[in-house]
Subunit: 340 residues, 2 copies
DNA sequence: ACTGGCACTCGACTTACGGGAGTGCCAAAG
DNA sequence: CTTTGGCACTCCCGTAAGTCGAGTGCCAGT
């Protein structure tokens, strides 16, 4: 049976009321709080249909209705009116992000801001190296057989690694390598780096090839393997809002999932351009997050995307508000990055 | 009334049983599980005294006894026998830390290891800059009026900050400043840096003084103000072990406290040499942590201390085991740092 | 000083019982 | 065919009452 307009309106009302009150909503309460223009009995009939179609369910016989994951999905896709941010919120975002002094600071401020505005758990991925370019590579001698490799990306990200050399290298050797490495890699996108690094080794004079190979392997590790690893998290305390009701009584699995960087990156890292992605309950591949929803989007200077950010909360969340906030914050962060 | 040996023994038994079972312990159960050589009635008398002295209390009349914060304190100070780590644990620590490739990696591995071994929340402070020396300072031109300042400390820590110059500077200027800065600061302890930085500005030729002053102010900010800021956290999911019983029913305040870096630094950062510090319940100055205990210690290469680490859990925790683990991990991390 | 005995307390768990919100169904009206 | 009022039914929730048992405090006796 197709859903006519009124049934959709009923679903929207149920979602909005349930999100607001956290209590199963009944037919009588619905007609009182919304101008549906029909009687409770009619609403009950509609509800029966909605339930049959899998959009709502009853916790027990003779309780009100609660949206299912499918119900939230329909709501998000077709029923939610986008909320504009209040000027106060806009100002808060601007003010909060304005004082940032470096990338670390930007990320930390962003994640706190997101957590505060949405009152949920916020996650911000550092600008992904694979989407950045090399601005500069620096080699700092630590001892005769040890170098510190420092890479600065155009996004402001800085990565460092220790390099153990096979044999001693003097200052000139180091300067030489530094020049070569920069000549070859500066300005290049990291995704394109591996063949260039290989070329570096091949072009190197035989007596220094060993040393260069050593540096190259660390370079590859840094640039490729650990590339997307970093992220920031805030607002875990918000999980305890709404009592033990959300997350089916146990925060355990959620907290466990939040500890796994790999999982978080999967959640917010897979971003298509200019889309806000909403994963509701069961749609999450991670079993531990079957009772949670994730709203995520990409950010970056201009229209390019260098990383993802998002929030995680109970399936019973204010989707329109959250989506609006996540988008707005992402845009401000992108603007901020564009300035550098 | 002074506590004779048997009363102390009773207290120890109560603490051990309560920690193990999480249930108030009664006189009968006590004599059954421990070889006290006396009857339940006698134990009851002892318990009455212990309660009067404030070391134990009854959740309700006619329930068993539970240690108070003061009881745990006495237990930790005088009654706990230090547990030696099992060879398996030692091996686990060694294996887990062995693969670390840089400081970030060491810290992350350490904090996860601690959380896993103690099954509690672990916190590890990055080596404090104020206790480190400058190994090298690098200036990387980003644009004509922008520099990236990278500082490498002897502990392996790397900090970077963006410097906005008052006017354009060419490559030679930058190299020049870099030389001066390194000549003045390399090898110096960061705590001693401020006057040296000031001297740099004073000694500078007038036409470049403006630029140098700008760099100097960022240097001071980096070296001093934000000096001890970084730390890593793991194991928050462990807070949910033991049901809602620990932390008087609400994780909220604890999670909130864990979000505040300032608070965490206060907890594990104030370390006296070679002491393991235990703060039990009320002894914590942070109100949100009145239901928690913190075990912390310093770590560093050799006998010097460069940072703190520790764990946080319910007052009802296995103090001897936790203390042993925290100490052991701190020692291994220190050894690891000494190798670099 | 320790012990056995005993009355007492009080929380935890069960059972019983209305009250009430909400439903599903049906017959009548539009 | 849709909507509506009526009505019986279901089942959660809060309260009250009753039982059970672990644990205590006290006391008299060794």
């Amino acid at each position: 049976m197709p859903l006519d307009d009124r049934k959709l309106e009923v679903l929207r009302a149920i979602v909005e009321d349930y999100v607001a009150t956290q209590e199963p909503v009944g037919s009588k309460a619905l007609v009182e709080r919304h101008q549906l223009g029909v009687s409770p009995a009619t609403v009950r009939n509609d509800m029966a249909v909605l339930e049959e179609e899998g959009y709502i369910r009853q916790p027990h016989t003779s309780a009100g209705r609660v949206p299912t994951d499918a119900g939230y999905r329909l709501f998000v896709d077709r029923l939610s009116r986008i909320k504009a941010l209040s000027p106060a919120e806009r100002r808060a975002i601007e003010r909060f992000l304005a004082g940032a002094v470096d990338l670390d600071d930007v990320v930390h401020r962003t994640v706190r801001l997101l957590a505060q505005l949405t009152r949920q758990v916020a996650v911000v991925q550092y600008p992904s190296l694979s989407r950045s370019s090399v601005r500069h590579l620096e080699l700092v001698p630590i001892s005769t057989t040890r170098l510190m490799l420092v890479m600065i990306a155009d996004t402001g990200r800085v990565e460092q690694r220790l390099v153990e050399l096979p044999g001693p290298a003097d200052t000139d050797d180091v300067l030489d390598m530094r020049r070569q490495v920069n000549a070859k890699l500066a300005g290049e996108r990291l995704a394109d780096a591996p063949p260039l690094v290989q070329a570096l080794v091949d072009e190197c004079s035989p007596e220094k090839r060993n040393t260069m190979a050593c540096l190259a392997s660390v370079l590859l590790e840094t640039l490729v393997e650990r590339s997307d690893e970093r992220l920031a998290l805030a607002g875990t305390a918000n999980l305890t809002r709404g009592g033990v009701l959300d997350f089916q009584g146990s925060l355990r699995p959620v907290l466990e999932a939040l500890e796994e960087e790999v999982i978080l990156l999967k959640l917010i890292g897979e971003v298509e351009p200019s889309t806000t992605r909403v994963r509701i309950g069961d749609e999450n591949e991670i079993d531990n997050l079957r009772a949670a929803s994730v709203v995520s989007t990409g950010y970056g200077p201009g229209t390019t995307i260098v990383g993802g950010l998002g929030v995680l909360g109970p399936t019973r969340m204010d989707y329109p508000g959250t989506i609006a906030t996540v988008r707005a914050v992402a845009r401000y962060v992108g603007d901020l990055l564009a300035q550098n």
